[in-house]
Symmetry: C2
Subunit: 642 residues, 2 copies
């Protein structure tokens, strides 16, 4: 992609230098490598993670990995799956512990494809990315570290970042030029420190945690479940793992302790001894220990994620919190995904450079929500145990709306589940996410009745592909490739035939958002190309509210839409959440089964804008308005009305 | 497993010699290699299949591959999936062709986990098996052929088979001794010919087929569907394939033709020219051709599958038919699976040698059904096209029972779908499959109300595993490892508590079928062993008709059953076919939600017997009776009553 730049790229010039090969650095690197960028990726460890570290993949992260084509490689390692969390506390009378409740970790009211947490050693997860990178010619340079950097766009407008790199033994040094520098270095980020970016601690309490992975023999009945155990001897969190392993987290010290010392430590046998006591009356013996570590951690959040939109931070460099939320790797993945497509959109000439200013507010707001939920969730459980009826109400209520009669407890529980599953993560209104309050001139934007919220995830739905009758997951049909996903919900053809033809015609017009970013190699594109026949930045999916057999593409679908032959669907699959609906995908999006509507989904799967599907120029004008707010070009209607 | 034999195994002694490394030979080899047998496996081709040949995996075969842990390796090749079949015929007026209907290839009334046919090049499928074999130290010796063999148990009771093998260039020869010889050589089996086993032709009509794989450019709308096309210019079958390919089958000659010549041939361009004409008014151009072949084929079925239960035949060596049914590889898989576990049961000392006599009648009867269905199905469609209402009725009726008002057409269609999907394949009553008419002494055998039929597949169902709350597919929980699967449907504990304890106690008694086949290494078995802690021939699964959270294993499950900690389940998952049932697995098996019942499933997934779950000795007696009919030992009750 650097070919469009005026400065000739040499071996010392890169599109991006990525420091750190943990989850955040690897996901960023994997995306950008697939999209053709030149990457220098270093890590200061001599080899990938071999034991320990993060291991929880939340439900929505598994969707993301599937969208990247990496899910089956992850699942091939036979990870443990957590469907429920069990709570153990001292009994009301007597000693020891008893189970006081179990909760679905991703309850039924959340429409998740994979309603469980996937537990797998971080090393396996890293290797899936590393293998993918290798197929794109990128390898991690190890063990290398960053020793300095500068960024000055006035000195070099194309490669403004200069980075000093060094082998950790100091034997070799290298200075490279880059368009971007990314720090995925973890909590003690050198880059963050050099930029003098502060870290705020929302919860002033810090902890020392002990963590141990291994194989045990125990009669504790929930050893294959995620458990939170409180006893008179202390607290433990149990996390099942692949290959009969288990992870125990044990709180060793808290800044609320009288003798608080953040350097307090413990030996493996201290931790095992403490676990033994906490689990009484159950027994536990360690057959093997794979990993053991003691580390202090507090809730922290970086003041800034970037100062100049050239040097960025992500992952633990930006936010740290207790391991209890199980969110570290998942938040890191989403930091990287958010930044990856935006860098691509800017560098490929599609979006204005200002788009990069949305990275910090979008991701920092999520980190703040994470810390906030972490606190509220912990507080919730420390106050009281929920009644069985509350658990029932919280878990089984269908639909993501919160019922009128939910009490505060149930409400917080639901929000927490949505958030920790990943489905509740959302972005606030901005140029990309057009809320109903957006001052758009078009009245066709965000029509009434819609259930999709811009900045929130596109709701999963099953549909039938017309050309081959395959039942598919609509939200997974376009891979994470940097394309916006334009879902034309076509309703009933007898109502929308003209609206579809008008949309098709106007998309083709010279000054539409769609024709402004044609592929440079459009004449060489194979007729087999499924996703990007016209533009690398758009894929159009058309979904009819009818039975598959009633649609004949050549007769019913106008040419611009018909070119995406494998993205034409019938919304005819029964859905248990909407048993009365004949077109559940339309229904769950809140789109009329007759009139349909258009949903623009960002490359990362979050809804950008919803518009009505109308005859004439209404729909194209609305779409042109939306894209003109962040694209490099201006489009037809916008000009016409100025 | 040869360690128990009196003759010392040398390098020239094998448990089995397998000739042919197509689907039937490879599946047999893979099973036996996993179970520790010493295998000589040869193939006369210098390398595995590179292009062409069979490519259709039916729904039930995908279950089997999953049960072997091989499904994900198959799906990693991104096969095409066929959900529907389209029929094209000359229009009532005018020329060319028009679509006259589409049918689900595995309609909703069939309870399939994967309601589609998987289309993938045979070479990829073979390689999945070959890789698995390599992990067990077996490699295919190529290009080698068989030149002679003899089998005489009076000469050598342990290794009665002597086999002469030769490199195809004649440069090297080898004679080996074996317990068994298996011919998976295909239609022209040398072994079958040497044994002078005849082949019967059910349908006297033979055909010459042309088949072509490649990439096309066409405006024919159903090119991604399976299609049967009849036109005035001839007939074609279209099969979509992975990687944008398509396969066309074209009938080149039929023995009903006036100028019939079984050696009639055609060039690639003849076939392409014919396809062009048949598809008019649509156009078709070939961008590449991967494979092209012309071959004569008739329906044939071997008179015998074995003469002495030492030398066996399977796959195309036993049955050939037109490619239209798409059953070749699937029937081959099931031949191999049927034989594999029986050889293992006999060689490991679990079953009487007579068990091997069930291979031929079970598998030959299925081949006869296949040929019969092939004829009836073809005839059905040549007579008339079904009305839309018939298609609807045939496809959407839930449950496998045939509705009272089904007409002959719908009935035949349903049976055909069941059969071709693999779910309708069944075995007739014999020592393994105890029909309700079985002259068993126990009145607890095959209790009234049951919906499971011995000899038919165990119905798929979802349940929740107690220890980790994972939602699992019950029928997949025990891998294909040679074990019988004993499903104790435990109903309601308040009713069955004593019956469960009695069953547990009697299973442990010295003369039960269960204790008669303990593992020889039982003292060294890890407490992590999930499937076979006591015996290599049994796994016990216990399923309660209640919510997961109400079961406490240490309190509710007697010890023999509790040892299978990871095979204890709650039947608490909603099922759209039984929306009113709180315990759909019990309901769909036809077992009382209070009283439960016991289902014995053969290692290959077919139901062997169903018994009541009663207090006292009733259940154990019934089970002892069942196993005593083919096991090497006799058991307690049988002795007691003699």
């Amino acid at each position: 992609m650097s070919s469009s730049s005026p400065t000739p790229a040499s071996s010392a010039h890169y599109d991006i230098v990525i420091v750190g090969a943990g989850p955040v650095g690897l996901l960023l690197s994997t995306c950008l490598a697939r999209w053709g960028y030149k990457i220098k990726h270093i890590d200061n460890r001599p080899e990938p993670t071999r034991t320990g570290r993060a291991d929880g993949i939340q439900p929505r992260s598994l969707d993301l990995l599937r969208n990247m084509g990496l899910k089956s490689a992850i699942m091939a390692h036979k990870p443990a799956r957590v469907y429920e969390v069990a709570f153990w506390d001292p009994p009301s009378s007597g000693r020891g512990i008893e189970r006081t409740g179990t909760w679905a970790s991703c309850p039924d009211f959340i429409e998740a494809r994979y309603p469980f947490t996937t537990l797998l050693h971080q090393g396996y997860i890293e290797n899936v990315f590393i293998s993918d990178l290798e197929t794109n010619g990128v390898s991690i340079q190890r063990p290398w570290t960053i020793t300095g950097f500068s960024s000055d766009v006035s000195q070099d407008p194309v490669y403004p970042v200069s980075v000093n790199l060094e082998h950790i033994d100091g034997s070799v040094k290298e200075t490279v030029k880059a368009k971007y520098l990314f720090s995925g270095e973890g909590a003690r980020s050198f880059v963050r420190q050099q930029l003098k970016i502060g870290v705020q601690h929302k919860d002033p309490i810090a902890y020392v945690w002990g963590v141990m992975d291994g194989v045990v023999r125990t009669d504790f009945p929930d050893i294959k479940m995620k458990c939170t155990i409180h006893s008179e001897h202390g607290s433990i969190m149990v996390i099942p793992r692949e290959a009969n392993m288990v992870r125990l987290y044990i709180q060793i010290a808290s800044s609320t302790d009288e003798d608080w010392n953040p350097r307090k430590t413990a030996t493996a046998s201290d931790v095992q001894g403490k676990a033994k006591k906490i689990l009484l009356p159950y027994s536990i013996e360690w057959e093997s220990v794979e990993w053991f570590s003691v580390y202090p951690i507090g809730q922290g959040i970086s003041d800034r994620y970037t100062l100049d939109e050239r040097v960025f931070l992500g992952g633990d460099a930006c936010h740290t919190h207790s391991p209890k939320a199980g969110q570290g790797m998942n938040t890191a993945f989403l930091d990287a995904q958010n930044l990856a497509w935006k860098i691509h959109a800017v560098e490929a000439g599609f979006a204005k450079r200002e788009l990069l200013k949305t990275y910090e507010p979008e991701r920092k707001s999520v980190a703040e929500m994470l810390l906030d939920f972490d606190n509220r969730y912990a507080k919730l459980f420390s106050e009281r145990q929920p009644a069985a009826s509350e658990v029932q109400a919280a878990s089984e209520n269908h639909g993501t709306e919160h019922a009128q009669n939910d009490n505060q407890f149930i409400k917080t529980f639901k929000e927490s589940c949505e958030f920790t599953s990943g489905y509740g993560v959302y972005y606030k209104p901005n140029a990309l996410n057009w809320s109903p309050d957006h001052p758009a001139r078009s009245t066709h934007i965000n029509p009434k009745g819609g259930r999709l919220q811009p900045g929130h995830l596109f709701t999963p739905s099953d549909v039938t592909r017309i050309v081959d009758a395959n039942v598919v997951h609509l939200e997974q049909e376009v891979p994470l490739n940097g394309s916006f996903r334009i879902y034309v919900f076509a309703g009933d053809l007898s109502t929308t035939r003209k609206a579809l033809r008008d949309l098709s015609d106007h998309l083709k017009s010279k000054r539409s958002f769609y024709t402004s970013y044609l592929r440079s190699d459009i004449d060489q594109v194979s007729h087999h190309e499924q996703h990007n026949p016209h533009s690398l930045f758009f894929t159009i999916c058309t979904i009819f509210a009818t039975k598959r057999s009633s649609i004949e593409i050549s007769r019913d679908v106008p040419d611009t839409l018909a070119r995406y032959r494998q993205h034409i669907y019938a919304d005819d699959r029964p859905d248990r959440r909407f048993p009365e609906s004949k077109s559940p995908a339309h229904t769950k999006m809140g789109l009329d089964e007759q009139r349909g509507g258009v949903v623009v989904v960002r490359p990362d799967g979050y809804v950008g804008v919803v518009t009505a599907l109308v005859e004439g120029r209404g729909t194209i004008d609305a779409l042109n308005q939306y894209f003109s707010s962040f694209c490099t070009n201006t489009f037809d209607d916008v000009m016409a009305r100025m």
